[in-house]
Symmetry: C2
Subunit: 428 residues, 2 copies
């Protein structure tokens, strides 16, 4: 084994790759990214050059926490071996949710989770696919739908809920997203449950829904992910109600010398105080660093999540942080939601874009609980200002008084964030 | 007098206008804004329609705080009158700094503070001006230089300090701005003191500097402003060491029933704890609202300033908040400055722009003291995230762990702000 400083580090990976940007896959399909290689952050060879003994095509099949060993199967050889560890990190990630719908294993029904999935989409397009159905109108569904539209396909999006982006936007904010999708030519079927797939010769030909079939040459499922916890659970390592491995703020599991990080763990939600699974690269990256620092004898902590997210559909930017008004109510807060219309630049400066900001605040205290932004260029990343305010437990009144930057090319004299917070404060 | 609710509100203004966007003047000159009218936020007539008795061309020449009266001269009639008040707000603003250089009153030497100044620039251009000199390389100087360049003039910028943007950028960050100015064709004379102006028939023909003359048909002075406090001082109302009217967080002066707001007052700097004059529309707007709320019997406070600012030179965006490393040292902090290079988007996503972020932190505590950003599109407004962190007294380590938004079109998986804060934390 190789060593980095005083540590010998071995990484077992059942797949063929190590670090690649799954978030970039829709843009590869949409041809904004030219080649798959651009999405590979670090190859096994590069990790090895950094002193990490990466063993691809090796699956860990069991953990014996008492003996401090793992059982590893070489997928190329079929041979099993028992490997000892001093400290073990579980980074098993997550798998795309695939309900047990009849026909879900048919050719042409896939998820967009790996570079191999993206290659399969290309093969379908080469084979003449014309009609695509995307199942799910969350951010993955939106990004995939946009990409397939760019490739010239007829795109239908089928969503069980009554609005797109239901996990992160209230319905009054999601309406603008639905409008943009339809204006771009997407057939958007909301409030429509998928029941299965019609196949012909093992290939998908239609998506069956509660309101009838939708013809399809290609189906992409974008229903989110579920943590891969079977390995941990079988070893007696604690798995929580949200479905992820339970870790503390140092990324320790409840089992001595076993750590976990990334999409397979539960994280502390700073607003609700509950454990949640948020499978995003930004958390996985931070958690990897925190766990690594601690395993190596340092002291780092993962401070939790707010549920901040951003995406775009064509020119429409969508950002959110914290709780939606619906989530806040469900979590027991007496919450008020206030929507403000604002401009990204001084109204007289060219290129000013409209945006809508929704502020969710606790009625009794005025504390910010969450925010949503939908608008043109320059809208989305403003969510980070509100995320930072939320991280610090600010009231909306305090947010409205902050010293944010102003110049005509960048904002009106009252930045949209200040305007939205001030309006929310006036309604409490 | 007219009334708004129960208040009678009279506003005396010695000039011809009420609310106009002085910040937009460079963009009017640069023809990004088509007509002067677009810069007028609210005319006297519009204010009157809102119930405010606006009297333009009326100058208040004296305040008698004991008698609760002001003396007002009608500039059109020359007549003086004494007007009583229950509550008085001083909003006398600021005047551009114009050193007593020989020739400064010559035709063709001006500042860009009013719509009339902008009209004078147009007259000079119509009269065939070809060579412009801008005195001062602060944000006004930069914006004016860019505008005159757009209009096809030969532009020289003369700056006393060794770097542009010296008030808000450390020299190691300002270098990129100087490079961009020169690359655009500006002749940038740094470390060069103006000593006066050569005139011919009362018109400017050259700017005299310590290193020789610079021929000029048009000179724009951009040296910042000084609060207009003569009226207040003559009435015995307190003026501070920074040169502005002293007010508390409710915008009360030390004199009963007299309030002050806007460019004429001193503000509390949240990092140094000192009183400073920061003449920016964003503070003036907030202060106007706070003072108005309090005068009307409400309870609002102005929570102070950080020194947040933003501007751009062509495609280069420049943002800052809090203290520069130099300022932090001068203010007695044991400060460390750390510069990070980052990308505005995922490196594989089209249009990713480079930026440099400088984080200034207190060595002992790790507390964020200030930040500077210089970079391409998407760089500048990120300063608001750091301003919000600074507002809340965060450490750089805490900033590095925040839940900011990530998607490939908007940032790398580690947003530049997180990257910069994390790097700073590792150096403390």
């Amino acid at each position: 084994m190789m060593s980095t400083g005083e540590l010998e580090i071995v990484a077992f990976e059942r797949g063929p790759r190590t670090s690649y940007a799954a978030c970039g896959l829709p843009y590869l399909v949409g041809r904004l990214v030219d080649t798959p290689e651009l999405l590979i952050a670090r190859t096994p060879e590069q990790h090895r050059a950094n002193g990490i003994d990466v063993r691809i095509h090796h699956e860990v099949t069991a953990i014996d926490a008492k003996a401090s060993t793992v059982t590893v199967r070489g997928l190329d050889t079929g041979r099993e071996a028992v490997e000892p560890y001093d400290e073990l990190l579980i980074g098993t990630g997550a798998s795309g949710i695939a309900p047990p719908w009849p026909g879900i294993d048919a050719d042409g029904v896939l998820q967009l989770r790996t570079l191999e999935d993206a290659a399969e989409v290309e093969r379908r397009l080469d084979a003449g696919a014309r009609r695509a159905v995307v199942v799910g109108a969350g951010y993955i569904g939106l990004e995939v739908a946009e990409a397939l539209l760019e490739r010239g396909l007829d795109v239908t999006v089928v969503e069980r809920l009554e609005a797109p982006m239901g996990a992160v936007l209230d319905a009054d904010m999601a309406a603008g997203v639905a409008d943009a999708m339809r204006a771009a030519g997407i057939i958007l079927r909301l409030g429509n449950a998928v029941t299965g797939f019609t196949t012909a010769d093992g290939r998908v030909s239609a998506v069956e829904t509660a309101t009838g079939p939708v013809a399809a040459d290609l189906v992409v499922i974008g229903l989110g992910v579920r943590p891969n916890v079977d390995l941990a659970r079988a070893a007696g390592i604690g798995v929580g109600e949200a479905g992820g491995v339970i870790v503390d703020d140092h990324l320790r599991t409840g089992t001595p010398h076993v750590w976990a990080a990334g999409d397979c763990v539960e994280s502390y939600h700073r607003i609700t105080g509950r454990s949640v699974v948020v499978a995003l690269g930004t958390h996985a990256n931070k958690q990897g660093r925190v766990a690594g620092t601690n395993i190596a004898g340092g002291d780092a902590d993962f401070a939790g999540v707010l549920g901040t997210a951003i995406t775009k559909f064509r020119n429409l930017e969508i950002g959110c942080t914290g709780l939606t008004e619906a989530e806040a109510g469900a979590a027991g807060f007496d919450a008020v939601g206030v929507i403000t219309e604002a401009s990204s630049r001084a109204r007289y400066y060219p290129g000013a874009q409209r945006m809508r900001i929704k502020i969710v605040a606790e009625r009794r205290t005025g504390r910010l609980l969450g925010a949503q932004i939908v608008g043109g260029e320059g809208a989305g990343k403003r969510i980070d200002v509100l995320a930072t305010a939320l991280w610090n437990g600010m009231t909306v009144e305090a947010v409205g008084g902050m010293d944010l930057s102003y110049a005509p090319p960048f904002s009106p004299v009252w930045d949209p964030v200040l305007l939205a917070a001030g309006k929310a404060a006036s309604r409490i």
